[in-house]
């Protein structure tokens, strides 16, 4: 399972390098950049609501098995 390890950084511009799926590479790269900026702005908002005692919370989050 070592290959599922998420050590690689997300590709910048994500999907712009191939350009084989119809849209031009440049257009896709632009779309990817916009998405990245959008996500960057979101990170601050995520932190505003993210559980403060994250580690503790996750440790305590134990459910009984359901169906």
């Amino acid at each position: 399972m070592a290959d599922t390890k998420q050590t690689q950084k997300p590709k910048k511009g994500g999907d712009g390098d191939g350009g084989s799926a119809g849209e031009s590479g440049q257009k896709l790269a632009k779309k990817g950049e916009a998405l990245k900026e959008e996500m960057d702005a979101l990170v601050d908002e995520i932190d505003e609501v993210l559980e403060e005692n994250a580690e503790e919370f996750v440790k305590n989050y134990v459910q009984r098995g359901g169906e």
């Binding site: 994500g14 995520i46 305590n60 989050y61 359901g66």
Partner: protein
């Protein structure tokens, strides 16, 4: 079947986090959730005005079962409405908890696992023709169900000795059998529970328990919609290729651990296909099928979306960071890590995963993404709001929902299950509705009137059974 009944059952994770010495056991927290729903039915098991059922299930999970729905899209409207209903109940429960002077926070998650190996399910129900050979149907469906997680998975962070990883599906690692009769031990892909809640001569129930609970409307729509198309093709004997997997239970885990979605699986006939390739085969058959057979516009839309997600997956799964839960969530976590300059071993990664599924609009990270327009939607807020109180207009749920409203307005004693309405002082009047497609609410209204007249005269009504 052209006309089909769909149902979705979601078990929710629940936890109370105390902010002080006093705590609250989860059993009690759940009781508070139900307190707002005072009916004459059994406590912890009630039907709602929209026709849905809300109850406490195995392992102390609140569970919401949608009303009978007539299409995949309608189904996901009612599934989403369930999240909103539960959030209302959570508000009420929190108020009650405050009244008890217990400081803390109640959290409810629409996901399928904790981080120590427990799972709770999301079960899909499809009404199928009794005439179709069930085991044939199941065998045909399994390769589809095993591989569909590449666009229906909800994604999960997990830890092993060699680090923190991300996998496609929440549920995959909890599946141990192909087909079985139990839902808590030896969970399977397809469960054999045969409770059609309808005429058993005509129908049986297909109970799929391998799926993940979805936050994304787009993903949820694809999950149910593609399965509906494949089912219809199987019923029409349209599937002419054999994708029987050599080891479907192992395959489901292998696929979940492969975020490229391209690693090949061995079929029974010795050939090897990637999950994308198997899905492409089904999707291509579906494209031809919808040209030749009568298929609803909605299912045609599903096939279009299906093709789109497969094209994206083939190119780069990151392209689905607005459409598919596991990609949306991973993208969110990656962006967070990148901006904070930390790696996957940061303990907050697990919280980001969990909180994506928080049903509280103000806390849930999926709902934050949705508010910011960062995900594709399929539904409108208005239709979800309406579905909280209005039953689907074209199934038996309409009769149940209308009945509940009338009975409450008139303080009539009642008890319900999916195909029966019992009412009257001694619950001695029973309406049997074995046809899940029936919508004749006048029958229900008339019955309520009869009961009212009888109650007013204070005479006892002898046992009355009405076959609807």
């Amino acid at each position: 079947m052209q006309k089909r009944i769909f149902g979705l059952e979601s078990e929710y994770g629940i936890i109370f986090t105390p902010e002080g010495r006093k705590t609250l056991p989860v059993e009690k927290a759940i009781r508070f959730l139900f307190e707002k729903l005072i009916t004459t039915e059994h406590f912890l098991n009630v039907f709602l005005e929209n026709g849905a059922r809300f109850y406490q299930d195995t392992g102390c999970h609140p569970e919401y079962a949608t009303p009978e729905c007539a299409s995949p899209r309608q189904l996901i409207v009612y599934d989403k409405a369930g999240e909103r209903i539960l959030e209302d109940l959570q508000d009420y429960a929190e108020e009650k908890i405050r009244e008890e002077r217990i400081a803390g926070k109640l959290s409810i998650f629409k996901n399928n696992t904790d981080f120590v190996g427990n799972s709770y399910g999301c079960h899909e129900n499809y009404l199928v023709d009794r005439d179709v050979d069930f085991y044939y149907l199941a065998e045909q469906l399994i390769p589809f169900l095993v591989t569909r997680q590449i666009y229906t998975g909800a994604g999960k962070v997990f830890q092993t000795q060699d680090g923190v990883h991300y996998c496609v599906s929440q549920r995959a690692q909890h599946i141990y059998q192909k087909i079985s009769g139990t839902t808590t031990n030896d969970r399977s892909i397809i469960n054999t529970r045969d409770e059609p809640h309808a005429d058993r001569e005509k129908y049986r129930r297909l109970h799929v328990i391998v799926g993940d609970s979805n936050m994304s409307e787009y993903t949820n729509f694809l999950k149910v919609g593609t399965c509906a198309v494949v089912l219809q093709m199987i019923e029409d004997n349209y599937i002419n290729k054999d994708f029987t997997l050599r080891n479907p239970v192992k395959a489901i885990k292998d696929i979940s651990y492969d975020v490229t979605c391209k690693r090949r699986l061995r079929l029974d006939n010795g050939r090897e296909y990637s999950p994308i390739e198997i899905q492409r085969e089904y999707c291509e058959m579906a494209q031809k099928y919808i040209e030749q057979y009568p298929v609803s516009d909605q299912l045609k839309d599903v096939v279009g979306k299906w093709q789109y997600v497969l094209d994206c997956l083939d190119d780069d799964p990151n392209r689905l960071s607005r459409e598919v839960d596991w990609v949306i969530k991973r993208r969110m976590i990656e962006s967070w890590l990148e901006k904070r300059g930390v790696g996957w071993t940061d303990p907050r990664v697990f919280m980001l995963d969990l909180q994506y599924h928080d049903i509280r609009l103000s806390r849930g990270l999926y709902s934050l993404l949705e508010r910011k327009g960062a995900v594709e939607r399929v539904l409108t807020d208005d239709e979800v709001l309406k579905a909280k109180t209005e039953p689907p207009p074209d199934t038996r749920a309409k009769m149940r929902g209308e009945f509940i409203k009338l009975a409450r307005q008139n303080s009539i004693q009642y008890d319900l299950d999916w195909s029966n309405i019992r009412l009257g002082n001694l619950l001695n009047v029973r309406v049997i509705c074995n046809n899940p497609f029936e919508t004749d609410t006048e029958k229900v209204a008339e019955l309520v009137r009869t009961i009212q007249r009888t109650n007013l005269r204070k005479t006892s009504l002898s046992k009355l059974v009405i076959q609807s």
